[in-house]
C-alpha cells in the first residue's frame, strides 16, 4: 500500500523536476507510437474503407480474419519482426534491429488491424447515409472510398485513438525489437518493465501514472477536436 503513496511521490518528483531521462523516454514513446499510428492509418483506413464499400466472395471470411488480428499478442508480433530484422533474417542488411524504426514497425503491424476494423465500421455507417446520393452523382468505388474517408474524418479519429491506445501501452513487441537500450530505445513501458525487474516498484508505478496521464491527455485532445467538428456539423 505504501508503494502507491511512494508512486505518486515519484511521479510528482519526476514531473516537477522535468527529469531529463523522463522527458527523453516520453518523447521517444510518443514518436514511436504516433509514428506507428499514422503509418497504420495510411494502410488500415483504406483497407477498412475498401471492406466497407466492396462486396466480394469471401468478404465474410476477410472480416473474421481482420477482427481476429486485432487480438495479435504483442510479444508474438515482436518475435516475428525480430526474426525478420535480425542479421540472420531476410531484412538483416537494413540494420534496423534495436532502433526506434523497428519499434515503430512492430507497433504499426499491431495497430493496423484495429484501425482497419474500426474504420470499416465507421465507414459502413456513413456509407448507408451516402451511398445512393453518391451513386446518382456517378461516383465510382474509388471515389466513394475517398469521399467516405474524408467525410468520416472526425469519427475516424476514434479509430486512431484506439490504435494509439494499443501502441502506447504495449511492451512485448518493443522490448524484443528495440532491446530497451538506454537513451536509444527505452520507452515508457520498457522502462517500467526494467524498474520492476530491479524491484524499484515505486518508480515503476510512478512511470505508470505518467503513462496513464499521457493517455488521458491524448484522449482529451481528441474530444476537443471532435467537439469543434460537431459545432460545424462535420462530425
Amino acid at each position: 500500500m505504501q508503494d502507491f503513496g511512494a508512486a505518486f511521490g515519484e511521479a510528482f518528483r519526476l514531473l516537477v523536476s522535468l527529469d531529463r531521462d523522463l522527458v527523453e523516454i516520453v518523447a521517444l514513446s510518443l514518436r514511436v507510437s504516433l509514428g506507428a499510428v499514422l503509418a497504420a492509418a495510411a494502410i488500415g483506413m483504406p483497407i477498412g474503407a475498401a471492406l466497407a464499400v466492396a462486396r466480394f466472395p469471401g468478404r465474410g471470411a476477410a472480416l473474421v480474419a481482420l477482427n481476429s488480428l486485432m487480438g495479435l499478442p504483442p510479444v508474438v508480433v515482436g518475435l516475428l519482426v525480430y526474426l525478420a530484422l535480425s542479421r540472420a533474417g531476410p531484412l538483416g542488411p537494413l540494420g534496423l534491429l534495436y532502433t526506434p524504426a523497428a519499434m515503430t514497425m512492430a507497433q504499426m503491424i499491431l495497430v493496423v488491424p484495429i484501425v482497419a476494423a474500426v474504420s470499416r465500421q465507421t465507414i459502413e455507417d456513413m456509407k448507408e447515409e451516402y451511398e445512393e446520393q453518391l451513386r446518382v452523382l456517378g461516383v465510382g468505388p474509388a471515389g466513394m472510398i475517398a469521399t467516405l474517408l474524408w467525410d468520416a474524418r472526425f469519427s475516424l479519429l476514434t479509430a486512431l485513438l484506439a490504435g494509439f491506445g494499443r501502441a502506447i501501452a504495449e511492451v512485448g513487441a518493443v522490448i524484443i525489437v528495440g532491446g530497451n537500450i538506454n537513451h536509444v530505445t527505452r520507452v515508457m513501458t520498457t522502462a517500467i518493465a526494467l524498474e520492476t525487474s530491479k524491484g524499484d516498484l515505486a518508480l515503476a508505478l510512478g512511470l505508470g501514472l505518467i503513462l496513464l496521464g499521457l493517455a488521458i491527455a491524448v484522449n482529451a485532445a481528441v474530444m476537443v477536436i471532435r467537439r469543434t467538428g460537431n459545432h460545424a456539423a462535420f462530425a
Binding site: 495510411a42 530497451n180 525487474s197 530491479k198 524491484g199
Partner: protein
Amino acid sequence: MRRLGLLLVAAAALLAPITGAGAAEKFITVQSTTSTQNSGLFDYILPVFTKKTGIEVRVVAVGTGQAIKNAANGDGDVLFVHAKPAEEKFVASGGGVARFDVMYNDFVFVGPKADPAKIAGGKDAVKALQTIAADKAPFASRGDDSGTHKKEKRLWKAAGIDQAKASGDWYRETGSGMGATLNAAVGMGAYTMSDRATWISFKNKGDYSVVVEGDPLLFNQYGVILVNPKKHPHVKVAEGQAFIDWLLSDEGQKTIASYKIDGQQLFYPNAKK
C-alpha cells in the same frame, strides 16, 4: 486524396529522424545479461569508455541464452556474459573470435527472516540446497537457461538432487530475469539464488537477507567475446576490439573494481595479464 498524401508525408517526416538517428555516430552493440544490467555496472563503466574513445556502447540486456543466440545470429558486435562452458562452445562453433576472462562476482542465497529451512549464516552451498530439498522449503529458480540458472543447476547436481522433479511443488521456475525472480521469491516467501550485485541494488527486498555466501562454488566468472567478423562481415571489429581491450586494460579493470553500492565492491577484475 490530397489529404492522404499529406498524411503519408507527415508519417515519413516523423519516421525520418527516427531511422536516421544513430546511423552516423560511432557505436557498438553489446549482447549482455539482465543481471549485469540491473547491477548498474554498465551505467558506471560505459561513460568512462565512451569519454575516452568516443565510441557509444549500446547494451541489449536479455537472458544469457538469448544473448548468445543473438550473438550467433550476428545481432551484436560483442558478447559479454557469465556462462563459461556455453561461451567456449560459442567460440568453438565459430560464432566468436576468442574468449577472455574479465571479472567475477559471486552468487548468494537469500531468504526470508522466517528462514524455514534454518540455513541462515551458512557457508556451504551444497549443504544448504540439500537441507532445502529435504525440508521441501520453497525455492524460486530463474528457470531461463541463463548463466545464473546454469550455475544453479550445477549446484543441484553437485548436491545429488533432482530438483526438476519437484518443479511446480517446492521448486518454482519463474522463467524470468533475476529481478522478476527476486520479486516472485519475496512474494511467495521462497529461497532463491541471486548474483550479489543484483541483490544489493534490488529495491524490493521485503524482510529478506543473505542466508548463504562465501562458498567458492558460488563464484561467477564473466567472459567477453568479439563476434566473428568472418561469419558476420558487418561486425564493427575495430570498435568492438577497442571495447574488449579497454575492459582488459589496467584502466578498465580498475574502473570495474571501483564500482560500489553501499560501499560494497561487486565485481572483482581478473583479466589475465
